[in-house]
C-alpha cells in the first residue's frame, strides 16, 4: 500500500473538522496524519491528509470526503514535486553532563533549542518526517519526556496553487 498526500480545501466554518474526522473514523480509512490551518483565503481552511491506501481505497477516501458539503476541493498531491514539512517539539532530559552532547545533536540536525532549565531542554525541529524520526532516535538515550508533532503539511513546488490544479 502506498502513502498519498491529499490537500483538502474546506469551508472555514464550525463543524467542518467534526464532519471530516467523523467520516474518516466511520469509514475506517487508514489515515496516518492530518493537519489543518488557515490559508491565503480567509474563508478557506486547508487540511493535509496523509493516507495509506491502494488505488481503490484512495478513490473511496477522495469520493467520500468530496461528498461532504464543506469540502470545496481535494487535490491528490502524490507524485507531484512536493515540499513536505512537519514541526516537532521535543522535551528531553538534560543534566549539566549530558547537555553538551544534546547540543551537538541539535546542531547536526539544524534544530533549535527553545527552552532550557536545570533538568530538561525543549528542542524544536521542522523538517521531513524521517529527519524528525531520526532526531528522536538520537535523543532517546537521553530520555525523552514528551513529544508533540503537528502532522505533515505539504506544498507543491512551482507557481500553480493546489486550488487551481
Amino acid at each position: 500500500m502506498k502513502k498519498h498526500t491529499l490537500a483538502v480545501l474546506v469551508e472555514n466554518r464550525p463543524g467542518v473538522l467534526t464532519h471530516i474526522s467523523g467520516l474518516i473514523s466511520r469509514r475506517a480509512f487508514n489515515i496516518e496524519s492530518i493537519a489543518a490551518g488557515y490559508t491565503e483565503e480567509a474563508d478557506t481552511t486547508r487540511i493535509t491528509i496523509i493516507v495509506e491506501a491502494d488505488v481503490i481505497e484512495l478513490e473511496q477516501v477522495v469520493n467520500q470526503l468530496s461528498k461532504l458539503i464543506d469540502v470545496i476541493k481535494i487535490i491528490d498531491l502524490t507524485g507531484t514535486d512536493l515540499i513536505h514539512r512537519e514541526l516537532a517539539l521535543i522535551k528531553v532530559k538534560a543534566s549539566s553532563e549530558t547537555r553538551p552532547d544534546i547540543v551537538d545533536v541539535v546542531h547536526i540536525f539544524r534544530a533549535r533549542i527553545v527552552d532550557v532549565n536545570p533538568e530538561t531542554m525543549v528542542i524544536e525541529l521542522s523538517g521531513e518526517e524521517r529527519k524528525i524520526d531520526a532526531l528522536c532516535q538520537m535523543l532517546n538515550n537521553h530520555g525523552i519526556i514528551e513529544i508533540v508533532r503537528t502532522g505533515k503539511i505539504a506544498l507543491s513546488r512551482g507557481p500553480v496553487p493546489a486550488k487551481d490544479c
Binding site: E11, G15, L23, N63, I69
Partner: protein, 563 residues
Amino acid sequence: MIMAGAEAIIESLKKEDVEVVFGYPGGAVLTLYDALYKANYNHVLTKHEQGAVHAADGYARATGKVGVCIVTSGPGATNLVTGIATAYMDSIPLVAITGQVAVSLIGRDSFQEADICGITTPVTKHNYLVKKVEELPRIMKEAFYIARTGRPGPVVIDIAKDVFAATLDYQYPETVRLRGYHPLFEGEPKAINQVIEEMKVAKKPLIFIGGGVNLADSAQVLRDLVNHTGFPVITTLMGLGSLPSDHPLNFGMVGMHGTYAANMATTECDLLLGIGVRFDDRVTGLINDFVSKAKVVHFDIDPAEINKNVLAEIRVVGDLRWSLPSLHQSTVSAKFDWKGQVELWVEKILKWQKEKPMTYEQNSEEIMPQSVILKVNELTKGEAIIVTDVGQHQMWIAQYFSFKEPRSLLTSGGLGTMGYGLPAALGAQTGCPHKNVFLFVGDGGIMMNCQELATAANYNLPVKILIFNNQVLGMVAQWQRMFYGGRYSHSRLKGHTDFVKLAEAMGVTGMRISKPSELEEILKAVIAVPGPVVVDIPIPETENVLPMVPPGARLDQMVMGGG
C-alpha cells in the same frame, strides 16, 4: 421585511412549497410553535418524535417532495436519530428542524441540551447549527437544496432558542452558493457509448435496478429501455415498483430472499447493468463470488458508490434522469437487434422461473401470510401504496405483492428499522389523501410505535393496518430455527395484547380475521371503512421466508421451500 426568526422559518417553508410539517413541541421551539399557530400552518402532531420523522419520511417517499419535521431540543432531537438514519440509508430527502438551547447556554450541559449536530453527523447529508438569526434564510435555502438535489438525504437544522425570537431583515435568497456542493447531473457521454459496445457483445446481459430509479422518478424511461431491448430485469427491494412486477421481463427481487430466477440469472449473467443500486450485502450474498462471470456497469449519481462494494468495469456517473434517457436513446439509434441477441438467455431465465416459481404451502386451517398479500393485491388491483415494517412480512410483500407503480412500496431497506411502518404510512396518507394506503406489520414491530394509532385516529388518516400476528419476532425466530438449533431466545412474544382492543382504545376501528374463509369478506369490509382500521390476522408461527441465501453463501446456494 423585518420579522422574527420564527416567522422567517415559516416564510421559508412556504417558499419551499412545504404543505405540511410533522412535529412535536417543547421548550426550545415554543416561539416557533407560536408562529405556526399564528400562521395557521398545516402541522401534524404525532405522539412521539420518532413518529414525526418517520411520517415525514413516508410523506417524502410517497410524494417525492422534501419531508419536514420540527421538534424541540435535547430528548426531542435525540428521538429523531433512528428516523434520520433510516432516511439517510435510503437517500430520502428530509429537513429536520430541531430547537437548541439559547446561544449563551450552549456547551454547558444546560437543561435539555444535546449536541444533535454531533450526534447526527454520520447519518445526515449535512447539518447546521444556527446561532445568528441573519443566517436563517441562507441556511433554510441551502438545507432544502441539499436535501432534494444530487443524491437526496436528510439535513438537520439545529436552531438556538433565541434565534427564533431575534429579528432580521428577511429576504429569501434566490440561489445558493455552495463552493463544495455541485451535484452532478450530466456525466460522460463516452461512458454511454462504452456501455452500448458491451451490450452488443454480451450474451447474457441483465439489468439490475435499485432505489435510485424510484428516487429519480425514472420508471418510464426504464420501461422504455426494457421494452426496446428486451433485456431481462432484476431488482433490489428498493427498486420494486419501477417496472411492474408482472412485466414479462421482470424476474423480481435478487438477494437473500430473492427469487430463484433472479438469483440464478445474477449468478450466470455476463454483463450486469446496475442502475441506481449500491450492492448492499443483502443483495450480493458472498461478495467475492458475486457475478463472478460478468462485467459490471454501474450507473449512479454518487461517485462514492462506484467501487465501494463491487468493482465496476464501466462507470456512468450522473443523474439517472440524464443517463437512462441517453442509454435508451443510444439503444434505439444503434439499430441493433437487441431482442434477438437475448432471446436464448431470456428463455433460460424463464425456465428457471417456471422450474421454481414463488410458492408456499396452502393450508385450509390457518391463514397463510402470502395469501393475505395476494388477496389485498387482488382487491386493490395493485393500485395502492404499500408500507411495511421490518421482518418476515416485509420480505413476503417484496416477493408476493405485484407492484404497478414507482413509489408504491415504502419500506426501510437500508437500516431495516422496526417501528418505521405505522408512522411512515401516516405520512404517506397525509401526502396522498386519495390513495389507498396499506400497512403490513408484524406483531413485534407494531408495538414499537403503536402510539401513532392515536395520530391516525386524530387526523382520520384512513390507513389500513394489517398485523401479521405470528406470536413471534418472526424473522428472528426464523434465523434461530435455521441457524441456532431452534433455540428461540427471547423471540416468542407470548402476546397478551389484544390488537383489536388496542386499536379501539386509541379511536381506530379494530377487526380480526380468524380463518381463511373469512379473508376476502373481511378485507372487503376493511377497505370499505372510511377511516383507519387495524386488522389482527393470526398466521402460523413457524412459516419461513424462502428462498433464503444463508449468510455467507453464494446467491445460487439458496435454501428453497414452498409446496
